[in-house]
């Protein structure tokens, strides 16, 4: 387990190196002055500029410049946004939790819907219900997320008026920012309208989370179906059947457990996919998360925000990846022997 951990850490460090190198080089590739792209201080006076050049060691060779840049990143100084002139680290701390919240809820929905459906399909292998679930998965996977988002708004917000179409919560509720995760903040707040706020926030998250969840859910269907079919064909299931265990016992005690382990490995991979979908969905549903912020930064040519935002987001996805690897390793002792990154 120790070698496993160390290897993952090494992988993390090297990937981060490559990522920072990439974001460092972006400053040179973007139009404008490199040091201004690093720091985002577009209104810097001559003395400010001199100070910045000193801080980023712009007069030294490129390696010193890179290490100075790295120093800033490690100290949590991502520069400031060219558009709003506020520190990017603050903006990320405010916005990233909203994206995490949305992605987690979407992941939960995707797993709760996708995995059982996949199991049902596998158990009824090659029957009508299997085919029906598979074709649903195919259709669901083929629908573009932005189109689905707009359709959902048109139907559920405008047409039926059931669910709100934008934001995290109605602006009438004042919830103090503590963790950034809306539901936790609501429970921590002492607003007299706490439960109404909670209901309202739940209503706000349903549509975007379901839209994001659709594509990963279909992948979970196919993954869990394949895993289940594989498990059901193994000799220990046959042995269990021969021992006279009934269908329920076989599925719930043996098959599901073993199939789930296979799926958990893929949750991390799906999370990256999910965050990408979330970025598009955030724009459609005006969700105040990092994806919308990043896309706005692109349209405003806020180079500092683009490079730092990308760095923060990819770092976050990578951490999730490693975490799921650990969970997988903890659940499946066989994987711990696997020393190389998967």
């Amino acid at each position: 387990m120790l070698t496993f951990t160390l290897r993952r850490l090494a992988l993390f460090l090297f990937t981060m190196m490559v990522l920072t190198l990439l974001s460092f080089s972006l400053s040179f590739l973007f139009p404008g002055d490199t040091v201004i792209n690093h720091s985002g201080q577009i209104n810097a006076t001559a003395t400010d500029l001199a100070k910045l050049n000193e801080a980023y060691q712009m007069d030294k060779n490129i390696f010193r410049q890179y290490s100075a840049y790295l120093q800033h990143i490690i100290n949590g100084d991502f520069g400031q946004s060219m558009a709003s002139q506020s520190p990017i680290s603050n903006e990320i701390i405010e916005l990233l939790p909203a994206t995490i919240e949305l992605s987690l809820v979407a992941l939960l929905i995707a797993m709760l819907v996708g995995i059982p459906l996949g199991f049902i399909a596998a158990i009824n292998h090659n029957k009508t219900s299997d085919n029906a679930i598979l074709s649903f998965a195919m259709i669901g996977y083929s629908i573009p997320v932005f189109w689905l988002g707009l359709l959902a708004i048109l139907l559920f917000s405008i047409g039926l008026g059931w669910l709100p179409s934008s934001g995290k919560i109605s602006l009438l509720f004042e919830i103090e920012f503590v963790t950034g995760i809306q539901f936790i903040d609501i429970l921590l707040s002492d607003s007299p309208y706490k439960w109404q706020a909670f209901n309202n926030a739940s209503a706000h998250i349903i549509l975007p989370a379901c839209v994001i969840a659709l594509a990963p859910a279909t992948i979970f269907i196919r993954l869990s179906r394949a895993a289940m079919i594989e498990v059901l064909a193994t000799s220990y299931i046959r042995a269990a059947r021969a021992k006279g265990l009934n269908f329920r016992q076989i599925i719930f005690r043996h098959a599901i457990r073993n199939a789930l382990i296979q799926i958990i490995r893929h949750v991390g991979l799906q999370f990256a996919n999910l965050v990408t979908l979330a970025m598009v969905t955030e724009v459609i549903f005006s969700w105040p998360g990092i994806g919308r912020w990043l896309i706005e930064s692109i349209s405003q040519r806020d180079y500092t925000a683009i490079q730092s935002g990308l760095l923060a987001l990819s770092c976050f996805i990578f951490i999730v990846h490693i975490l799921t690897d650990f969970i997988y390793a903890a659940l499946n002792p066989l994987a711990r022997g696997n020393n190389h990154g998967s």
Partner: protein
């Protein structure tokens, strides 16, 4: 046994039902009362400051002027007459050079987390507010950039000699000359009264720049929270000097994307939406109302009167007669603009419904051209502005329509357009023959149309791009400014408009409207006659059975269908 079983089940069912209904009912009640006491307004952008003195941007004054502040006097009613506000009365000396204001003595400033007032409004606050603009050495003059665009455009500092404090509740403005638009300027959204005590507090704390970011005023609402690009939250000012506002909370949901605003409006996430799109959809819905108000602007087609052939009055008249104005309004403004008779919109008090209009008459146009000696027609250019403005949403398309109209009388048109700043620069150098442009008034005084657009003085400074100069016209404007008699002034302006329509330095095309959409449960006037908005009178009523559409705020505004 069976009976008791039944009973038990029944009671069980009843309790559950009662519980559910009580929970639901309670929830519903609380939510609806919170939203009933609040208004969410989908606004089109983030204000740059909360001090309307500093900016002429509509977004800024919408978010600040009528919500956070009061001015000394205001415009009231359909006739747009001046009425008291923070000044309970005022007196103008006979020569019009001394204006004395008597202040109300019961006016409270906002109490917020960042400021607690210890005294009521007095003359010091008025002095502070205006000296900040006038006195270049004032401690707050340079805070937030020192640009007071509106006051600079009306040459306020050249007009006011000094402001005197007579006593705690009396203040006197001494002017260098008589100017009848002075009171009008004080009644605009820009002439707000700030708190001098707050200014002092900020000075001692060395946080002067906060005066325009964390505002303190006397208005019906006070600022609670502002997040750039996201929301502005106002609370009701409970110690307001008039009856307090009917809603407790006012939230501006900043949504720059117009289809986003429409979605939020349709999904009931906002109660009122600024500048809505899809007017027909909104008008068709029984739960929404579309309102409009003709704002003080004019889109026009101007001629360079210094250049042949437009130095000839007959040619200008002929071209004007050949243009089908109604077709332009229907196509370019999609019927959502008022047809302009002259440069003054009908919302202005000086508007004279008797103003003659040239009309559309291509036959007469042709004969006028013959008289002028252009029987064979000629070739001209039209400069079309490259940007979209309320007064002209698409100048290039308009130029094409004019091109088609003029072809019928044998005049060939070349359409020219440049990038916006180049366009304006070349225009001011007089390189053009004719041009499509517009004018938006800064305040309701009619002089704001006549002088900057067409007077001889503005010709020299370049805002009169027709380069037209008429002594008689200028004389009338001067007379109008030196009298305070409204009906006399109206007469002078009517004469001036007759001269314009005779001389035709420009052809006024349309006065575009400002639109707003709201749910039918939102009652009370929001759109003000002079562009701005005010949520002071707004309230919500859940009386759904009352399906009568809320009629627009006054006679001039109409519900579009």
């Amino acid at each position: 046994m069976a009976v008791s079983m039944m009973n038990f089940k029944f009671i069980h069912f009843l309790t559950v039902a009662a519980l559910i209904s009580s929970i639901m009912g309670c929830n519903e009640g609380d939510i609806s009362s919170l939203s009933e006491r609040s208004i969410i307004y989908c606004s089109e952008g983030s204000p740059e400051t909360f001090n309307p003195q500093l900016s002429t941007s509509g977004t800024t004054s919408d978010a600040s002027a009528k919500q956070l502040y009061n001015s000394l006097i205001v415009y009231k009613g359909n006739k747009n007459t001046l009425a008291p506000s923070l000044a309970s009365s005022w007196h103008v000396t006979r020569d019009g050079k001394k204006i004395t204001f008597y202040l109300r003595q019961d006016v409270n400033f906002h109490q917020t987390s960042y400021f607690t007032p210890t005294r009521k409004l007095n003359a010091d606050d008025v002095l502070f507010s205006f000296n900040r603009i006038l006195d270049k050495d004032h401690a707050f003059h340079q805070i937030s950039g020192g640009q007071y665009s509106f006051f600079q455009s009306v040459k306020f500092s050249e007009l006011v000699e000094k402001i005197e404090k007579i006593n705690d509740f009396t203040i006197r403005f001494i002017l260098k000359r008589n100017d009848s638009s002075f009171l009008a300027n004080l009644a605009t959204d820009y002439a707000v009264i700030l708190s001098e005590e707050y200014g002092q507090q900020l000075t001692t704390q060395d946080k002067q720049h906060e005066i325009d970011i964390l505002p303190i005023g006397t208005g019906p609402f006070k600022l609670q929270d502002y997040r750039v690009g996201s929301l502005i939250r106002f609370y009701r000012h409970d110690e307001y000097w008039q009856e307090k506002a009917k809603i407790e909370q006012l939230v501006y949901d900043i949504s720059p994307n117009k289809s986003n605003r429409l979605t939020k409006l349709l999904a009931k996430e906002c109660d009122v939406s600024s500048y809505p799109i899809a007017h027909t959809t909104i008008a068709e819905r029984s739960d929404l109302t579309l309102e409009s108000i003709t704002s003080l602007n004019v889109g026009y087609f101007g001629f360079n009167t210094q250049k042949a052939p437009f130095d000839n009055k007959l040619v200008r008249q002929a071209i004007s007669l050949a243009i089908n104005k109604q077709a332009l309004i229907d196509t370019i403004y999609q019927g959502q603009a008022a047809r302009a008779k002259s440069i003054l919109p009908e919302t202005s008090w000086a508007y004279d419904s008797e103003t003659p209009e040239l009309g559309y008459d291509p036959v007469r146009a042709k004969s006028l051209l013959e008289v002028a000696g252009y029987a064979q027609g000629f070739t001209m250019d039209i400069w079309a502005m490259p940007v979209q403005r309320a007064y002209n949403p698409s100048a290039v398309t308009m130029a094409k329509l004019i091109q088609a109209d003029l072809k019928k009388i044998g005049v060939k048109v070349k359409i020219i357009t440049y990038e916006w700043s180049t366009f304006l620069r070349r225009l001011s150098m007089g390189e053009h023959q004719s041009f499509l442009l517009g004018w938006t008034a800064d305040h309701p005084d009619p002089d704001n149309f006549f002088t900057p657009m067409l007077s001889c003085t503005s010709r020299e400074k370049g805002s009169n791009r027709t380069f037209w100069c008429n002594k008689e016209y200028d004389e009338l404007l001067k007379k109008a400014l030196t009298t305070t008699n409204m009906s006399k002034r109206k007469g002078y302006y009517a004469q001036a408009m007759t001269i314009i329509n005779e001389e035709m330095p420009l052809l006024a095309i349309a006065h575009s409207k400002r639109f707003q959409a709201r749910g039918t449960d939102v009652k009370g006037d929001i759109l003000e006659n002079f562009g701005g908005i005010s949520f002071y009178d707004v309230y919500k009523s859940n009386n759904v059975s009352n399906t009568n559409k809320v009629m627009a705020p006054n006679k001039k505004a109409k519900v579009i269908d």
